[in-house]
Symmetry: C2
Subunit: 130 residues, 2 copies
């Protein structure tokens, strides 16, 4: 019994650490959107930018560099004049997008239920609810 | 062709909105950990607190209330003296934990690859890399 409790506590600590780590990667909205944009295939810089509403050049450059550093996005330079720079998901990035697709489907299916629950909670608890 | 491009752009906008929404819920580290803690079954307040290293009473109360408002966690009060308060995942919370489990498994399997990629990137790009 004591062992079971200890094992569970250890598991939560590991979870805590893992969860912080995966959040590091996906909790940035722009990172998520760039990964989704590249899910359909290779894109040039300007194409990525056009597909993501509201992203600034600075933010896109920073996000792509971060994702390249994480090994999730590959950058391929063709040495023409001017050079052509293509971005695509790496095999590691592909594994993450599969997981993120689950999140996306969950949101599409269940977010309306969350909104309904919030309305009900606020109705039942008044302004002092939260 | 023009229609395809428009459809894709619209899809990215929808994604942007959905992604922000699901992040609202899961990007809080404590919300994630409370959901994981309740994944094994109903727990009393003190039990939840003992299972999550480093969470303060104030933060736990706030997190549980937020998750209750989102319809993800149910609160059941037994009117004894003192009252017994149990927390558990709602059916909606169960659907989210399934999705979050994918994220957890991804992190366990692939996070070491992200760390290796970062080391390589920093070696190749020096300090000016990011």
């Amino acid at each position: 019994m004591a062992n079971t409790v200890q094992a569970k506590q250890a598991d939560i600590s590991i979870t805590s650490c893992s969860y912080s780590r995966v959040l590091e990667i996906i909790s940035n909205k722009w990172s998520g959107l760039v990964l989704y944009a590249l899910a359909d295939g290779t894109l040039r810089y300007g194409e990525v930018r056009r597909r993501i509403e509201g992203i600034s050049q600075k933010m896109l450059t920073q996000t792509l560099r971060q994702l390249e550093r994480d090994g999730l996005v590959g950058r391929d330079v063709t040495p023409s004049v001017p050079p052509i720079v293509d971005y695509s998901l790496t095999p590691l990035g592909d594994t993450l997008i599969n997981t993120m697709t689950h999140l996306k489907l969950w949101t599409a299916e269940y977010y309306p239920h969350v909104e309904k629950a919030r309305e009900k909670y606020d109705r039942d608890n008044g302004e002092s609810g939260l």
